[in-house]
Each structure stands twice: as C-alpha cells, then as structure tokens.
Symmetry: C2
C-alpha cells in the first residue's frame, strides 16, 4: 500500500490531519500560495545533512579539516550556495555557469573545486582569477592550459589529478576493471595518471596537492569505494617512492545513494565514513604514508532527500490492458521537463496524495506528465487511491537532485519555482518562469 | 569512412574547399560570428519541406485544402512560427507556452490545433478566446471543460477526438493491439471513443468536426499509418450509420521518419502521401463515405533535417579498452544539455569535421559533451580523422527537432543560439543565453 514514508520524505515532513506538512507548512498552503508544480526544499534538513557529512568525515578520520564538497550540479542557486557556505563545507562546480552562481552568492572561492572533462580556457582563467581552491585536472590538454594561464596571471594554482582507478561502481555492486571506458580522468593502469603527475611537477605555476577519484553516482556498494581507495593509495605510495615526499590531499569522490522508493535506504554518513576511514588508514599504514587530508563528494546525498515536488492532478483516464487489467493514467501539471530522471535513467519514485487522506481502495496507476510524448512518465507503476480526482495534490519526495537542475522548457512549459520551508515559514528562492521569460531570448 | 552525407545534411549544405558551407555561409564564419555550440537552420530548406508536405498532401488527395500541422514541440520560436505561417501550413501546439509563441508571432490562430493529455483550464480558455482552429480533446474531463468554457465565452468550439486505434508503430514495424497502454486519447476497442462522440454531440458549445489518430514518432513503417487509417475510417462509417451524417475532417497524425546516420532515409512526402491517400480513398469508398478533409502532422520531418549543430572540440583523450583497442574521447563544448536524444532515446548521429578536410586515417572515436556525467555522450561510436585536435569544429546534422526544444541548463550551461542562414546571409533568431539570464530567476 502506498503511504507516507518518513525514510524518503525530508526530515521535517509529516502527515497532519491527513495533509502533508513540510517543516510546518501544509502542502495545500504551498500550492495555494506558489502554484504547482513546485519544488519544496526543507531548509533545516539540507543544512543538517551538509553538517552530518562534514561531522562524519572529520569524526571518522579524527581531524577537523576534512572537506565535504556539495555537488552544484545536483542543484544550485544563490540561496543554496549561501546555505552551503554557512555550513562550512565546500562547493564542487563543473562550469563557468556554476562558478557564476558561487561568485554571485559571495561563496568563499578557496572552498570551491572545479571539475570537468572539457573546461574552456575562459572557465580556467576565471577560476584562477577568482582564487578557486582547487582545479581537478582531467586531460593533458588541460595541464598545459592551467599551467599557462596561471603563469600568465602570476599565480600558482593548486590542482588535483582525476584518476580512474579501474573500479566501475553500480548501485549495489562494483566491478574491478583494467581500464575504464569513460571520458573522465587519467587511467592508473595505462600509466597516463603517472605521466600526468610528471607533467604537473614540471610546471612552476601548478601545485599538485593530491589525487581525485570518483567511481560513480547513486552508489550503495561500499566495497567499491574501498577498492578505489586501495588503488589510489598505491599511487600515493609510488609517488613517495619516486619523489621522496607525500601528496598531502586526497579526494575520494562519493556519489552516495539515497532512497527514492519504499524499501530503499539513504546511506548513513557515519557508517559510510567509518568504513572509508578504516580502509584508508589501513592502506596508508601498510604503505607507510601519512593519511592525507581527505575530501569527499556526497553528490545527491545532501540535497536529494530534502526536496518534495508538488503537482496538481489534471486528468485521470482508465486504460484497459491486454492482460485484462486496468491502468489508471493520472496526469499532473508537470512531467519530463521538471523530472527527466524516469525517462533518462528509468528512475523510480514514490507519490502520495498530499491534500487529504483517503481510505479508498488503492488501484494500479501510472503517473504521467502533460508533455506531448508517450514517454512522459513520472511513475510507471504505483498504487493510488481509487478516489483520486483532478484537483488533488500529489507529492513526490526525494526530488532535490537532478530535478530542477536538469529541467527543460520542453513543450514551452515554464520551469517550476523552488521554495524553502523552515519553522512554519515558506519563501521563494527561485521564482517560477513565465511565458514572457521564454520569449526573452527571441528575435 | 565518415564523410559529408548530402542525404542527412540540410539541402543547401555542401563542402567548399574542405569546409562545410550551409546556404552560402561557411561553418567557420558562423562559429567566429556567433560562437559555439550553435544551431544553424537552413531557412529555404525549412520552407521547402513545409511546402513539400503540403503539396504532397493536396496532390495525393486531389484537393487544395488539406492541412499540414507543424509540430511546435519539435522546435518553435517566433521566427519559425512566421515561416510556418508564410508557407500556409498550420501549427500544432500542446501548451499555453507554445500558444504564446504563436500569438506573439501573429500566427493565424484558425490554423492552430491544440493537443495535450492534460490541458489546463487556463490553456483551454486562452485557446478559445484567441479563436484557436481546433482543440483535440483527449479525456472525458476535457470534454466537460472545453464545453463549459466555450459556453461561458459564448462560442462554439471546433474539436477533434483523439482516438487510439490499436496500432503501435515502431520505427520499421507496427503491431496491431487490442488496447494501447498510452496516456493519450480514447480507445476505439474499449468503446471510450464512441462514448466521447456521444458526449460531445450533447454539447451545444462543441462542434465535433472529426477524429484524430497519431501512432508514434520517427516512423518509417507506412503499413502502420494504413492500419490506423482503416480502423479510424471504420469509426467514421459507424458515425454515419448512427447519426445519418458524416464527420467532415480527419487528422491522421504522422511522426514521419528522417535520416540521422548514413544508410537511413528521410521519407519522401510524395510517396508517403500517395500511399496514405490510396488507403484512405479505398476504405472510404468501401464504407461509402466521402473522403474527409485530411490533416497530417509530419512531426520532426519538417525542421529535423534543416538544422546542423556546430561544436568546438575542447579536449581529446585516448582510453585503452579491455579488448586491447583504443577509443579516442572527443569532447565538445556542449552535450546532453543541447542534445538529450542520445542519452534519452539511444539516438544516433553523424559528425564531420567542419573547418577543414583531412586525409588522415580515421580512428575509433566517441563524441562526448562537457557535462559532469559519464552518460553525456553525443555519438557512441564514430570514425573520425586521427589528426582531429582541440579547436576543430564538429558539425552534427539533423538536429533541428528536439535539440533546442528539449535543451536544459544542466550544469548551468547556457543554451546555444539559433541562427537562420539563407542565400549567403546568417541572422540570429534565438540569442545565446548568458550567465546573467541564468541568475534572473533567483532571489
């Protein structure tokens, strides 16, 4: 039976007299005040998760300077950047656009890390000019570019090298491979990573502070992180042997998994970090190197669980299936333009009726959007109350990551607003687009 | 071997002294003047294809009033709407946003058809107020809404009923089914379509002018269109038997296929329309009804082939594969934010070097974007010249449909400009987004 699930909704969500309440504001009130579709972020939950990863990292490694990078790509706006800044963690950006948000929010640039397999010269120049903390270099072309531009600007830029350790992590398993067939990083196995180290050491405008390894996204297989750590620490030992000094920092990436549907779990930072610390400490001890300053990138694990999408049901339609069963299509006022993940990745979600309780029998439903495309499906199979009618509100939890951030204007739908809720108060942090906005680029 | 392919590039594209020329303007000039990534539309090609479908439809049916609807969802902006208007064909819109473009462009609203499985009351009201030609009703809820709102506005609204004929069309085959498991339309088999006819006939503010059937997208299987036409004409005959009059119009949809990669073909309107006309005439004759006024929706077949995306190569990287082979990753300055189709549908594309000729050996490459995601792949497997270097321009043809229209700001990339080229002249029709635009919605 489909019902509210506290393990999936944001921490301060609950059912009050049959209605969904998020941080003290009823979903019906949010819909009335701001319209739907609407992204609702539980602000205190966001900050608690950011601090939770930071505390877990520092506590597991027994340090105070471990660095958690928030993934701007999962969802960023100026207000989110201010929250990230306030919690003391770092920000991982991939483009000039994401950097522009950080700059506009007054984010401390020394806590920003610049990723990307194809950074433009302009992006590299801006990053160095604004004093970005770390550039994670990803190709030989980029080593030359960062070195040259830093020299032109009279700066020494701290860099990490992104290495591919030969670990393919999938949701619940990992595969150890000789080579990784991905666009990112320098292969350890092929020797490319070692050549990159040598190239960077030749440049007087680059300061190689460490390595970076990232094995994937929405990952629960802790063995994958451990396997990658083992391979990367072997490179650190080789570095010490070759150059007589140790690289002081190590970014072990992340992409930690969260719960989307009942039965799934959101990884506990304390557990994940203590497992990771055990492996890192063991391997560093075996290699006789000091444990470097560790950074992690929890990815969707910070913002993902904090956000709920509210939709209004517009139409319902019963379709007979070839097996004799009936499927009710429940169409909402958004769709693949505000949540492409089901169509793109086959991602699954939960939905509940947010405006009232229902004791009606639950029936086989499919939640779809309003786009002119058969593949515009948000939830392929879900049981929902038979008395669901147009005008009811549906709430879909765990939509904080890669919802608004990947949103499009497909079919010229205007992208939803984003609301922060905290202690019974709601406020706009990204306003809803208008049809006028959509025409603003046209000539 | 990968090379320029006149069957895939827009009609006025060619290679001049080794460089790609589109309608008299060199790709290098376009990139220099407007930057990359860039969508380049061959204006005369667009208008010729629009007229080509119109002429083929009228000629095949021996009429002058057949209606071709251009799919706004494939790509629309004010200038495109003006071209559609100028060629005399109609416009198919699905949302208030698409309607807003038509209104802003001064498009004749009587040639507009409103689709959608979940039109809002506001969209329905606007449509009726501005005198939209046809509303294609899609659910019982909507019959009530359109009827009520038209009555409130003192109008009689022309409507079609979208029916699902029990034909699932795939690219090169079709399947006849009892039931269609889709969100669109009223099932003929279940009786829902017939009930909808009866409901609409009861309303004095609705004028049921015909039926609408659409079996899919990017379709080459002409038997699928024929099979659907047979089933829909059977309903027309039943209507005549029941009510003693004939429905005067019939929209047979479309979604006609185009060529994306070498070996594929773009359907010839003359052939498709003459095949369709033969079936429709035969079935109408057998049912002893007059051939209704026919509408079609070619979908991507008008804009798709007219547009080429230009990208600049930023980095290249060789990755060893487990089978001993090497793959060169060629990273460009766009990616899944301007072309989601490879990631979303597994769509395939061609790419050529646009700024020079090369006689170098061609090697196994993968064209990827600059997003922070391993799945950000534009072309999974392609042979490209070994001497391809950063700074080279890549041209990807057949990107007119569902490229810019589904574009996102993922990773805060700004969406590309769209340029129209004609007779050696280029002009901006949609300007490139800026980082300032991206921040405009934020508080």
């Amino acid at each position: 039976m489909t019902s509210f699930d506290a393990a999936i909704f944001s921490t301060h969500s609950s059912i009050k007299s049959g209605e969904l309440d998020i941080a003290g504001v009823l979903a019906t009130q949010l819909a009335a005040d701001y319209g739907t579709p609407l992204f609702v972020v539980d602000e205190s939950d966001f900050k608690a998760r950011a601090k939770g990863w930071n505390n877990a990292l520092n506590s597991a490694f027994g340090v105070s300077d471990g660095m958690v990078y928030y993934a701007a790509k999962s969802f960023v706006c100026k207000e989110i950047a201010r929250w990230v800044s306030e919690t003391g963690i770092g920000l991982d950006v991939c483009t000039g656009g994401e950097m522009a948000v950080a700059i506009a929010a007054g984010f401390p640039m020394d806590r920003v890390e610049l990723h990307g397999n194809n950074k433009s010269e302009k992006e590299i120049r801006t990053a160095i000019e604004v004093g970005i903390g770390t550039i994670v270099v990803d190709s030989f072309h980029e080593i030359e570019r960062v070195s040259r531009i830093a020299a032109e600007l009279g700066k020494v830029q701290k860099v990490y090298i992104r290495v591919t350790p030969g670990v393919e992590a999938h949701t619940h398993e990992f595969i150890s491979t000789a080579h990784e067939d991905v666009k990112f990083g320098f292969s350890i196995a092929s020797g490319a990573a070692w050549t990159a180290i040598q190239e960077i050491r030749k440049s007087s405008s680059l300061n190689l502070a460490g390595l970076h390894s990232h094995i994937g996204s929405q990952i629960f297989a802790s063995e994958g992180f451990a396997a990658a750590a083992v391979k990367v620490i072997a490179v650190l030992a080789k570095y010490r042997d070759a150059f007589g000094s140790e690289l002081p920092e190590l970014d072990l990436g992340g992409g930690y998994g969260i719960a989307y549907i009942p039965g799934e779990i959101t990884l506990d930072p304390t557990v994940v970090m203590s497992e990771l610390a055990a492996v890192v400490k063991r391997e560093c001890a075996a290699a006789k190197i000091a444990v470097p300053k560790i950074s992690i990138e929890p990815g969707r694990a910070i913002v993902g669980p904090t956000t709920t999408t509210l939709y209004t049901v517009g139409t319902t339609k019963d379709v007979a299936l070839d097996n004799g069963a009936t499927r009710r299509y429940v169409a909402v006022d958004g769709g693949m333009s505000d949540n492409i993940r089901p169509a793109l990745y086959g991602a699954e979600y939960l939905a509940i009726i947010a405006n009232r309780s229902s004791t009606a029998t639950q029936i086989n439903c499919r939640v779809v959007g309003k786009h002119c495309e058969s593949g515009d499906i948000i939830i392929r199979e879900i049981q929902l109350a038979q008395d669901l009618v147009p005008g009811d509100l549906l709430a879909i939890p765990a939509t904080g990551a890669y919802g608004r951030s990947m949103a499009s204007n497909y079919n010229h739908l205007t992208r939803p607003a984003v609301i922060a809720v905290k202690d019974g108060k709601a406020r706009l942090i990204v306003r809803r687009e208008t049809e006028t906005d959509l025409l603003a680029l046209e000539l």
